[in-house]
Amino acid sequence: MKKEPFKEKDDRLRRTRLYIPGNHPAMIQNAEIYGADSLIFDLEDSIPLTEKDTARILVRNAIQALNFGRSEVTVRINGINTPFLEKDLEAIVPTKPDGLLLPKAETEEDILFLHERITELEKKHGLPVGKIRIMPIIETALGVVNVEKIVAAPRIAAVGIGGEDLTADIGAIRTPDGRELEYISSKIIVACAAYHIQAIDTVFADINDQEGLFQATKRAISRGFQGKSVIHPSQIEVVHRAFMPSEEEIEKAKRIVKAYRESLKKGLGAVSVDGRMIDLPIVMRAERILKRAKAGKK
């Protein structure tokens, strides 16, 4: 496949993305020990309008000064139509985060605007151009309608769903099993899969219901989500456990990957495992299972 600029494949494991309020030093500086695959320092909904300036400076300094270990470092900036976006970008882009989450992403133009602005700031600060990924969050009906174009835009690595806002926007009622989001989730998952981008499931709001979270994550995985956003450190282990493949899945994935590698060596076009033909998407899924198994054992 031809490598397009700003569209490098990104296979990073993102089983959990932990939201951390950007104005909370105790949580920020302990973020590494929670073990989430990704950290989201939030400048948007968790920050009151009167504290946008202080959170922005605190998150900027934290990313510059602290070590977050193996966790991916991302920041949820304020939305395109807010007076805070430009200052968020000016403060955060120079710190070279792994990604920026764009809330309420609705159109391809939103992403292109952000992409151009990030590119300008990367050049201005002498940073490598294109390393900072964009991670839109779909939270409105318009965003759902346009998701195929959004995922095809530059820099996109993962797309999240804002379940609460979406449910309100379409006039539905939130249910414990999230059935009102089934169509929307499927549409986003398919769009992401078409461009090898990760779809990340919405948060599970009840932090005391660990069994409910486990089951919701299992459902999300079976539908094709590759990660789940979490709002409390106690949710991380539960989600990682849900993402841990069974021994049977691991063994099968090993057989598939081994058979595929051998077929490549021998120059064979097709290969079968357990009597079933396998092709590239099946191999890629097997590799993903092995990656999750390896991470789950750490």
């Binding site: 909370h24 105790a26 300036d53 605190l58 000064a65 200052k87």
Partner: protein, 94 residues
């Protein structure tokens, strides 16, 4: 040179944070820092030096800084000082 606009505060009294308040000082009084911290004996000089580093960066003077420290690390001390200065001098707000 930026001009003092209003008394301003940034930070909180929560653990790992620091509450920085900036008020207008007398003319030619320079920068006065009043620090309150349970770790003042051990880290007081360092905290004051970290605050002063930010004050010098912005070139502001004739102010009184009251800092109530709750165990903040350098990145936080300097972020709260910067935010309070920007608010007090009306720089780059919100």
């Amino acid at each position: 040179m930026v001009k003092f606009v209003r008394t301003a505060q940034a930070g909180s009294l929560e653990s790992c944070d620091i509450l920085v308040t900036i008020t207008k000082g007398k003319e030619q009084s320079g920068v006065k820092i009043n620090l309150e911290s349970s770790a003042k004996k051990q880290f007081g000089d360092r905290i004051i030096a970290e605050i002063m580093e930010v004050v010098k960066k912005f070139g502001v003077t004739d102010i009184v800084i009251s800092a109530v420290d709750k165990g903040a690390l350098t990145y936080c001390i300097q972020a709260r000082t910067e935010a309070a200065i920007k608010r007090a001098f009306g720089v780059d707000e919100k």
